[in-house]
Symmetry: C2
Amino acid sequence: MTTKPSFSGNMPNAYVPGKGNLSQDDEALVLRRQKAMGPAYRLFYETPVHLVRGQGVWLYDKEGNAYLDTYNNVASVGHCHPHVTAATAAQSQIFSSHTRYLHEGILAYSEKLLGYFPSPLSHVMFTCTGSEANDLALRIAQAHTRGTGFIVTENAYHGVTAAVAALSPSLGAGVDLGTHVRAVPAPDTQGGDVGQVFAAHVQSAIDDLRRHGIQLAGLIVDTVFSSDGVFVDPAGFLAPAVAAVRAAGGVFIADEVQPGFGRTGDAMWGFARHGLIPDMVSLGKPMGNGYPIAALVTRPEVIEAFASKARYFNTFGGNAVAAATAMAVLEVIENERLQMNALTVGTAFRKGLDDLAQRFDCIGGIRSAGLFLGVDIIQGDASTADAHTAARIVNRLREARVLISATGPRSHVLKIRPPLVFEHAHVTFFLEKLETVLGGL
Amino acid sequence: MTTKPSFSGNMPNAYVPGKGNLSQDDEALVLRRQKAMGPAYRLFYETPVHLVRGQGVWLYDKEGNAYLDTYNNVASVGHCHPHVTAATAAQSQIFSSHTRYLHEGILAYSEKLLGYFPSPLSHVMFTCTGSEANDLALRIAQAHTRGTGFIVTENAYHGVTAAVAALSPSLGAGVDLGTHVRAVPAPDTQGGDVGQVFAAHVQSAIDDLRRHGIQLAGLIVDTVFSSDGVFVDPAGFLAPAVAAVRAAGGVFIADEVQPGFGRTGDAMWGFARHGLIPDMVSLGKPMGNGYPIAALVTRPEVIEAFASKARYFNTFGGNAVAAATAMAVLEVIENERLQMNALTVGTAFRKGLDDLAQRFDCIGGIRSAGLFLGVDIIQGDASTADAHTAARIVNRLREARVLISATGPRSHVLKIRPPLVFEHAHVTFFLEKLETVLGGL
């Protein structure tokens, strides 16, 4: 039996079977996918991309065509970085076992990683995915606060376990939010003092939870609001909301799965620009440059209640190969000065987009921090989101062999998020392609 | 601040800080662990083992001492198997990206894996951990049945996400079971018709859920009842319980994270001995021989309701390196006939243990399937579990450089679960060490 995807939720840029311009060979692959992997999987783009090779910022299809990767934040130090793959290969051949034996590698990595955090954040626990890290954060927050309620943003994504899917409105209306969850509007830069407005929404959510007899456990946000459409300015705007949460007995969980490891350019972590020290920080995607490793960094006092009644073990989490691989990723970030590169190349990227915005009316607001950029696509006046045009731009860029995607609750924000080894020449290449696409709309 | 583990729950064989006979260097590592990784982690053994290298069934400490690994079911085709590490290294250097692009590797693996299942089980979805696979199974079961209730065994372990921790009584009394969860006694071989007794317990749980207004979603069991103490005979005993669950509208989820991939010797999966076709099957630990990959195999009709309202994506799950690695693991299982090896070596292992049981009164019941063996340690008459002696045996074997552990609700079952490349000579080696330890008690 062949089952077809019957639902795309609010996922922008999902392939719709039967559409697109697939080769016969690729059409056959799509059918094999549906048959073997079932109806819940999605491909990207009107015409999905069949990739066979990656190097640096380039991905290659089986005909050898090169695609400029301006989207993937997992291969953050570049696809198949030789320093990282060498570390994976070497450790795989020596020892790969878990954290219930003593091993130097996981300690060396833990200490190096914690060195990037302000001192109150002094413990790290290892998982395999960002979903698992956020799921663990919830368990710890609930034990620490004795509350159960969580506040998230309206189009938040925090992962796919049952507990964090219930905190992820971006998965679509078919995935129920928990009865203990309140979603607040993202901190949009339009209208008033962003920090005060956001804090007021959070306070209302706290009050509403309390009115329903639900004690607050915490606020969890992606610190650049990736799936809400990228909200980063003005620096510091999160502080009043976090103060309100703490006053109500809740904790602040910074989801750094997307912004973390230098992407924002100004700092290693997205929370830094807000002058805050979170109670917990979840890490994921770029941590192992594709090797499955993720983590939760906590203040010690936050984990005490959990540890007094539970233990934690993740069979593959923080195994010796994961630790060696993640260590190599940090070494590349340092040796190639990738945080600084994210800042300088990101600044040039932003300027190029600002210049295009002067010439193309469909470009509305642009928001960015380092190499995480969001570009609103609008119709007529700035308040009308144009998801249709955003999708056309994404797909025409794909035809021009440049990979990005779209995001936001109205699916009209171009999501631009290249590997951190992106260079000025790649920015120029991208802007030329985008200009051509915009000119041809 | 140094925090110390303040709780060991009912985890047998957890290191208690301050005890044991650690070298100064290893004591320093323990302190570094506590400082960096916090109070929720546990080490194995009274004196933890500091490992640096693994090959086949042998693990090595930093002094070069060899330990016979009779415990680790992750490195199932042997530690650092060259065919597997070569596949990981090769694919890592070519392409490692995710399942939203077309890629041949994940399809080839999916099809090969599904070939090991009876045909109704025709879809596979990829996660990074067994916890995530079971968590996804719960979400799918709840969507399919519109029920929420689950039945597990009294000392079950299904993982560490919030949702599956609530289904895992073995995590200890500090981790709450869900209000929608009922735990039934494990299918102990003592007393009556095992299948009818177990089915009666399951029916009582169904009735009790209904009495509380909770509709059944399903029954989930580890198909060899690993953490309950290893219950495998008589073959077929699960069938009446599963029939009761299906009659009540629930699904049967076979947790094959521990038994799967040939360990039971008689079949690739533990459910096979029960003459059943589950609705879903979760896979994990040995799947990538240490590389983080896990999966959920389902009947297509079971996933329809979930897919009609939700999508599924796991960033690292089923990436190109995971697929290549897992493919290599299957190739080794086939090429080295490891399922057959588990049967023949497991049979000899069992016979050797049976012989020792004739001579040592502290050995009670022995249960096994292939290379998964459970040995009750008892005091006086067979009904008195002796966790203390079990712990002494585990730790004296560790001093003799043979690694096993203990399990079961009363912590008195020796858990013997070596890599599947275990040979007859290793069995002899193990039995000699065990005999010496038993003689010296």
